[in-house]
Symmetry: C2
Subunit: 258 residues, 2 copies
Amino acid sequence: MGSETLVLTHDMMVEGTHFLPTQDMADVAWKLVAVNLSDLAAKGAEPLGVLLGYALGDDDARFAEGLREVCEAFDVPLLGGDTVRGSGPRSFGLTALGRATHTPVPDRRGAYVGDAIYVTGTLGAAMLGFEAVRDGTGADSEAYRRPRPLIAEGRALAPLVSAMMDVSDGLLLDCWRMARASHATFLLDSETFPVADPARLNECVRWGDDYQLLFTASPDTALPVAATRIGTVMEEDIGALWVDSHALTPLDGLGYQH
Amino acid sequence: MGSETLVLTHDMMVEGTHFLPTQDMADVAWKLVAVNLSDLAAKGAEPLGVLLGYALGDDDARFAEGLREVCEAFDVPLLGGDTVRGSGPRSFGLTALGRATHTPVPDRRGAYVGDAIYVTGTLGAAMLGFEAVRDGTGADSEAYRRPRPLIAEGRALAPLVSAMMDVSDGLLLDCWRMARASHATFLLDSETFPVADPARLNECVRWGDDYQLLFTASPDTALPVAATRIGTVMEEDIGALWVDSHALTPLDGLGYQH
C-alpha cells in the first residue's frame, strides 16, 4: 500500500475446540485478539486495528469487557466487523492489520545453515493454565487465559532474524514447520528447552497456546530480547527435525494439529 | 497507509440465518465474497484481497469451487485466513480489503438537502430468487445465489455522490439509515421504485440481498451509470423517511433487522 507494507492475519475460535463453554467470555475475547496480534508480532508488525466477527450470546457484556481490556492493553482499535445470531457452538473470527516495521517481513522460510535457533519465554505455561481452568484448581491460569503477544519483542527482532514465527501449536511442531519451510534440518537439544514443568518436558514442548517467538539468527548476533538457544540449523539432508539423537516427524505427535 | 486510504469490511454468514442448509456451498462461497465486495463497491474502493474464516464441513470441495469462481470473476486474491472444525450450524467470516479510488471516501452521512436520491438496478430480484431456491421451482435464482457487487459502478460514482451505501437490508430500511446518518429527511415516491414484481412492491423494497447502490447527488449531476431517481433529500424536521404521504420508521417493518 503506497510506501508501506501491510501485514494481515485472520484467526477463528470455536466453542468446544478453542475454548471451554464454561470459560469467562472476557478471557475468550482477550485471547481472540491476542492470538492474532501474536501473528503480527512474529512479523515485526505494528498493529493498526482489528475487525471482529461475533456470534451473539448470553454473555455479550463480558465479551465486550474483555475486548475493551485487550484493545486498551495493546493500544489497538476495534475498526469494525459484524455480529450474527446463530444456534449451536459459537464461533468468532478476528482479522488483525498491521504495518510492517522492517522489510523484508520475517517469515518461516529464511533459516540458514549454521544459524542458532532460539525461543522466547517459557513453554508449557499455557498447558498448566488450561489444566487449572479445566479442573478448577485455582492455580495461576493467566498464561492460558490471557496470553500476551510479544509485539515489542517482534519489532526488535525483525531486523536481526533469518526466520521467525510464533509458537501457537507446540514448539516441536512449529520447529518442524520452520525447518521444512526453510529446506533445512533443525537440530535441537532437549536439555536446553525452557519449560514450565521439567517433569513434563515432553508435554510442554508439544502443547500450543504459549505464543512465544521462535526464531533463527546468526549465532554471533547480539539479541535485544531475552531468549533461549535450543539448537542449530543444519543441512536439509537428514530430515527436518532432530531432538537429541532422534529424528522426529509429525507422525510422532509433535503438537496440536488442526 | 502512507499515501493510500485503505477500506476494510468484515461480514459473516451463518447456516440457517444467511443461507439454507440445502444450498449449494459454491453459491454460499460466492455470496460471502460478493456481499463483502459490495461493501467495498459502495465506498468506491478497488478490491485488493480477502481473508476467509472457514468452518470445515462435508462439502468443502464445492465451497472451494465457488470461492475460486467468485475470486476470478472479480479479480480478487484470497490472501489467507483460517479453517476450523466445529459442530452445529456452520459460520463463515470474510474480510475484504480495498484501496480507496476517491477521497473523501463516500459514506452514508453526506446527503444534502435538495439532492436527488437514486438506486441502481432492480429491487426484489433476490427475494424472487430466494423463493425459487426455497420452493425448488426451477425459476431463475441467480440474483439471490450469485449477487454481483457493483465495483465499477461504485468507482464511477464515488467522485460524484454526496452519500452512498449498498442496499443489503431492504431499500426502505437503508434509506431510513442514510437519512438518519445524514440528519435529513428522505422523501420517496413509491411509483418510481424499480422493482422486480410490481404486484409485490411493498415486499420488494423491504427485502434485502439485492446489493444495489443507494446514493444521493445534486439533481443536475450527469450520472455515469444507470440509476433510478426515487426521491429528494429534505430538511430533517419532519422525520427521517417519508414514502408518498406517509412517515415511516423501522417500527413499520422497513427491512431485514439483524
